[in-house]
Assembly symmetry: C2
Homo-oligomer: 144 residues x 2
DNA sequence: GTGTATTGTAACTATACTTGTTACAGTTAT
DNA sequence: ATAACTGTAACAAGTATAGTTACAATACAC
């Protein structure tokens, strides 16, 4: 399938919201920065709103803003908000339960999966949205 | 898409090979343990062979065996052998280059992606195939 | 040498997920 | 009232995976 880029888009969206500060931004404006359709943006904003990372307002002069200051928004939360969150998948079909390997490999793989997911979460935990904003601004000053 | 389970299948396959020791195993037998088609197994074995983790022989009484002892096979190598290897994808469409955020977010996300991938690789580096085999055997002894 | 078993690989199908798009009901400022 | 938004459903298009069939190439066994 097309690879899932929702986390990347979510970070882009949040960075954009952080940069523009305390105003209701329209999905249309955000879509222009991300270069996609406003509905795609609103879908991701919906997930971020459920995680209480952003707040939206309907109606005229509505829009979306951050629900927390950028320092308080951690990339783990963003990742959890948009992703199903497994680095590798387990096979759909059940392995052969009459085989000593097939019978037991699944739980071992499942534990391994959890260990990997934890280490991804830990690494993402090191970054806040404020950090991302800093990095973006830095890129802009040193750009070619 | 169907989520990519090649890494999980690869670990299963290698564990099976390790368990059966120094003999040429047919893709047919392995397929029975994994509960899939032999061609699916051969496709994965092909990738593992390219990474020099297994060795195959064509012809009658051919098959596949480990190219290294289980202690020397690390799960990072397996992951690299079968996976394209990114935890999250970057958007396909290029962001708006006229926007300060769109112009710079891509390289920031790309660096973040690399950091995450490194931490996954580090965690996988902690496990060898021998470890997996131990865990599978342990599961079998304490099974309900 | 002939026959048989097995890998390697191409080609195709079915399925499923993601993105993009249109459409529209519901909501709120002015 | 009107206009400008969000939220969301529905659908199309693109693409990746897994499964399957088929077959050429290869190597052992006799």
């Amino acid at each position: 399938m097309a690879a899932n880029s929702q986390f990347a888009m979510a970070v882009h969206i949040l960075t954009f919201l952080a940069k523009k500060g305390d105003q209701n931004l329209k999905s249309d404006m955000i879509a222009q920065s991300v270069n996609t359709n406003p509905v795609v943006i609103r879908r991701i904003l919906g997930q971020l709103a459920q995680a209480d990372l952003v707040a939206s307002q309907t109606g005229a002069s509505g829009g979306t803003r951050l629900a927390l200051p950028p320092e308080k928004i951690c990339l783990v939360e963003v990742y959890k908000a948009v992703s199903c969150g497994e680095v590798f998948a387990l096979p759909i079909r059940q392995a052969n339960q009459d085989c000593p390997v097939g019978r037991n490999i699944e739980s071992v793989l499942c534990n391994l999966q959890k260990a990997i997911d934890r280490s991804v979460a830990e690494k993402l935990g090191e970054f806040s949205l404020a950090n991302v904003l800093e990095m973006v601004d830095l890129e802009d000053t040193v750009a070619p």
